[in-house]
Amino acid sequence: MTTELLLSIVIPVLGGLLLIILLVYGLSMLLQHLRQSYQLTGFQKQELSYLKKRFDRLSPEQTEKANRMKWAWQGHRKFKICNKVLEAETICSFYLAPHDERPLPPFQPGQFLTFELQVSGQSKPVIRCYSLSDAPTHPEYYRVTIKRIPPPPKDPDKPPGVGSGYFHNQLRIDDIIDVKAPSGNFYLDTQSDAPVVLIGGGIGITPVLSMANYLADNGSRREVWFFYGVSNGLEHIQKEHLNTLEEIPNFHVRVCYSDPLDTDIKGEDFQVSARVSIELLKQELGVNNYQFYICGPPPMMNALTSDLAAWGVPESDVHSEAFGPASVKKEAVAAVEGVQIQFSKCGRSLSWDGSHPNLLTFGEDNGIGLPSGCRAGNCGECMVALRSGKVTYVGPHSATIESGSFLTCCSIPDGAITIDA
């Protein structure tokens, strides 16, 4: 009887509790459903926000592109030296403002300017290409940083660099020079969010410094490694600026002295007392999922590009700037010896002996006046018409080549050819 009485009380109470729990649970499910509906709206907003962010990121680029198209100029434009800053003993930055005071077109970080210098003592204008060393986030000026090229150490009797010497020794503030619009295919992919490794060797820092500044100025969250290789503190430029970059969380700056002076303090002036090498990259990076941008002297670039390929980095992930003659030789092309090179204007016919790296030096050594510029396939100054035959390019070139013409500075004959020169 007691059990029955107990059950008659307990069962209804349990049933009532269960009913309450179920009602609460049902209500919570309803609320959860409503919340999910709301979250779905939030999710749609999130998707829209993501798209908007992408749009916002693309929008300035589109604006830049539009401005670039709008303010671009053909041929030469007069620029005034508005400032001149000595970065190191042999390195100086020149700030260029348009003489016509019209707005400057933005450029891609890593591109260069092509100067046509009227150097006294030179029979024709000297064509030189110098990378823009600052970010395109400063619309009021362009900056190029130029190292004064001394005579080759092995041959001190040879003259120093004509172009760099002209900049360092002759150009003064308010001087006016002729400049072509920014060009070059070695520039940062600003639309990507891939992590980047920027490697600058010596004065090769300039394009990668422009890239780093661009990323820093735009507050990019991309992982950025900046390797700067120089001999010692005497060539170390932008030290304070690089220290500022180092303070950005996603920036990692490594300054490498290959031959530090006694006065150079490791840990303060530099971090690594060695050249920029693949071992250093492996040690610092760990993995190689980066976009590599390399600019430096030919030995360093040749070594790094081959070592990166050996490390498993796809060729598409390695971007290098070729400056100066034979900057980067990716593969050796053996031209057929004995083929006839016909120069139609001067009426000479020469036999290709295979001892010259390109047709430009072949012509110059044989006394034939060929135009020349950067000698690295970038400026297009050496472009001449090809009347017959074919040529093979032996190095990278970024200049736009017109149909029926070719760049003499980076090509060799592929059989008998006739050149309009």
Binding site: G16, N288, N289
Partner: protein, 648 residues
């Protein structure tokens, strides 16, 4: 057939292991290739899950989604194609499962919460039926409550729950009041050894429907209900719907399948002795008998209270006026000096004596002279008291001494020989004998003698002895000379009792036709019809052959009446039918219609009569005490004194 249509990524089948769908499906019109994980979290926050090979993370985006991307993974192993996570949605199957579970639990909770509260019950603890009212009960069960039938559920929520997991049925509740002989769950509470499949798990609700209102006759069942089993059992090709169209023909001799136990020739009595002209074709009938003869069937048959059998009245009421004297005139002669009687021969054989007929009689007489009744009683053993009741030892001694001296027994008063009782001396044939004269019908001594020899014939294993006994019985049952003229009417009944399959058959009384427990025809409702509407004399039938010729088998018996055929019943039992919805069952009920004048052969009953199966058949042939049953009053959850009420 393209089986790819049924692939896991092609088919729309809701797989049990995929409880969530991609939240982007609606926006993208398709799911991302990763899909949500089992916990319902978005699995597509990036295009791939890069793997590290050496010092490089490799893109793992599958080819069906575009293959490895151009940019490749980030330096920290992240995919370069990051997406904001979606909010996966539960699959329809999951929703269904949740809702089903909730509904189930909700119902359980409702039952638990409300069925047990006293506040939801009446003063006697009966729960208000608002939640579970299946409809009003029939008048027969109007005073019952739910727990009377639904005993497993009672009225508590706990019982409701436990009942779902217990083996019970409503029949238990029915059987607590209604009692049946045999297995109540077997078809007709009977066993049918030759019937397959065995029907032993029937439920009362298979035929009886409750909760259809007070006006419902719960005892009724539609023909379709019977048809469920009998359609196959009767080899019918269509459902049983009505009597005329569905019922099989009656058996050939219905209802006269078995021979009568008493030889009574209706045709002869009516034709020769009855008074009115309509009964007889014999113009010069005996006026003496005609004055005593019956005037109608009911003169002899007791119609009041007739059921299947309309039993005849007693011998004294019907037959004695003509046949009483025959009983008196035919004495039981045990022995004579002139001719040894088969009775005495059989009795002597039973004692092991092998005397010839003459020696037997003389030897017995000599013994009787010396020992009075003792020699006679030695021959009849335990039955002596019944067989020799009233026989005077003195009279036997005197007769024996006279017969031993080869003298006739001197009769003190010759007229006394005509009185009932034992006598010694000269009988009606002039022989000196020991004989008994019956006093009236059902004379106990003659019955004892006949039954004694019936018993000895059945029990004798000795063929010779059995023959002697049978010969003695035949002499007793001789139609013309048998003792008390018993054999004139009862011989066939008594001989039937000697057959091997005679168990239960009567020796003397009127035996009705074989009882059909499921077809208890009742004469009562038909009493307004004249008897000859159904019972008509058969022409050219040798009715007496069976009774007069001992070699005739019971199966060869031919009734003096013509068999009753189905057509005879369907004259009245036919109807148009209408399907009526009763509760949740549809029933096929007849519509009573007035009999058209042109068709009328029904006499005083102007209506068509129901031809429902249960009009003539009774399902429960073995119901204990059909007039009443134990009625229990069980109040749900509360014990109340149990009373047994037997209906008057």
């Amino acid at each position: 057939m393209d089986f790819n249509n049924y692939g896991f990524d092609q088919s729309s089948y809701e797989r049990p292991n995929c409880k969530y769908h991609c939240g982007r499906s609606r926006l993208w019109q398709h799911s991302c290739w990763q899909g949500p994980n089992a916990s319902g979290e978005c699995g597509g926050t990036s295009e791939c899950k890069p793997t590290k090979v050496g010092d490089r993370y490799q893109c793992t985006r599958p080819s069906h989604s575009g293959g490895p991307c151009g940019q490749g993974p980030h330096q920290d192993g992240r995919c370069c194609q990051q997406r904001s996570p979606c909010i996966p949605k539960r699959s329809l199957r999951t929703w269904r499962g949740h809702i089903s579970l909730l509904v189930l639990l909700f119902i359980i909770a409702l039952i638990e919460a409300f069925s047990g509260f006293s506040g939801f019950s009446d003063s006697e603890g009966r729960p208000y039926a608002a939640m579970s009212d299946a409809g009003p009960l029939s008048a027969a069960h109007a005073n019952e409550h739910c727990g009377s039938c639904h005993q497993a559920h009672k009225n508590t929520g706990l019982a409701w729950l436990t009942s779902a997991f217990s083996d019970h049925d409503l029949t238990d509740g029915c059987l607590s009041c209604h009692r049946f002989e045999g297995n109540a769950r077997s078809a007709h509470q009977s066993e049918y050894p030759d019937h397959e499949p065995k029907v032993t798990e029937l439920q009362c609700i298979s035929c009886h429907s409750e909760h259809a209102g007070q006006n419902t006759d719960i005892k009724q069942a539609a023909a379709a209900t019977c048809s469920n089993c009998h359609e196959a059992a009767l080899h019918l090709t269509r459902e049983i719907t009505d009597f005329v169209g569905s019922h099989p023909d009656f058996s050939g001799n219905y209802p006269y399948e078995i021979p009568q136990s008493i030889y009574f020739d209706h045709k002869r009595h009516v034709g020769e002795y009855f008074v009115e002209d309509k009964w007889t074709s014999k113009p010069n009938r005996d006026a003496e008998f005609a004055a005593l003869a019956a005037e109608a069937c009911t003169t002899c048959h007791e119609s009041a209270g007739a059921t299947r059998a309309v039993t005849p009245k007693t011998f004294e009421a019907m037959c004695s006026s003509c046949h009483q004297q025959q009983i008196h005139d035919r004495p039981l002669i045990v022995m004579t000096l002139e001719e040894p009687m088969p009775i005495l021969i059989a009795l002597a054989a039973a004692t092991g004596n092998e005397l010839d007929d003459e020696e037997l009689a003389l030897g017995t007489i000599k013994q009787m002279k010396d020992y009075s009744l003792e020699p006679l009683m030695n021959m009849t053993g335990d039955a002596s008291a019944d067989l020799w009741a009233g026989l005077s030892p003195v009279e036997v001694k005197v007769a024996a001494e006279a017969w031993a001296q080869e003298e006739d027994v001197e009769l003190p008063m010759p007229e006394m020989q005509q009185e009932a009782g034992w006598h010694t001396g000269e009988n009606d044939d002039g022989d000196q004998s020991l004989f008994y004269r019956a006093s009236t019908h059902t004379d106990p001594l003659i019955r004892a003698w006949i039954e004694h020899f019936v018993s000895r014939v059945k029990s004798s294993s000795d063929e010779e002895l059995r023959g002697s006994m049978a010969e003695a019985l035949d002499s007793l049952l001789d139609a013309k000379e048998g003792a008390g003229a018993c054999g004139k009417c009862h011989a066939s009944g008594i001989r039937n009792a000697l057959l091997e399959d005679s168990k239960g058959k009567t020796l003397w009384g009127y035996q009705t036709q074989e009882t059909k427990i499921h077809t208890p025809f009742a004469h009562g409702p038909h009493i307004n019809l004249s008897c000859d509407s159904c019972h008509q004399f058969a022409k050219d039938v040798d009715f007496a052959r069976y009774f007069k010729n001992q070699d005739t088998k019971p199966s060869e018996f031919k009734s003096a009446f013509m068999p009753i055929e189905k057509q005879m019943c369907s004259e009245c039992h036919r109807s148009t039918r209408k399907t009526v919805q009763l509760g949740d069952q549809s029933r096929d009920l007849p519509i009573q219609q007035r009999w058209k004048a042109s068709d009328s052969k029904a006499g005083p009953n102007p209506k068509l009569i129901s031809d429902n199966c249960l009009t003539c058949h009774v399902y429960h042939g073995k119901m204990q005490d059909p007039s009443g049953f134990m009625q229990k009053h069980v109040i749900l959850g509360r014990a109340k004194p149990t009373t047994e009420v037997t209906a008057p």
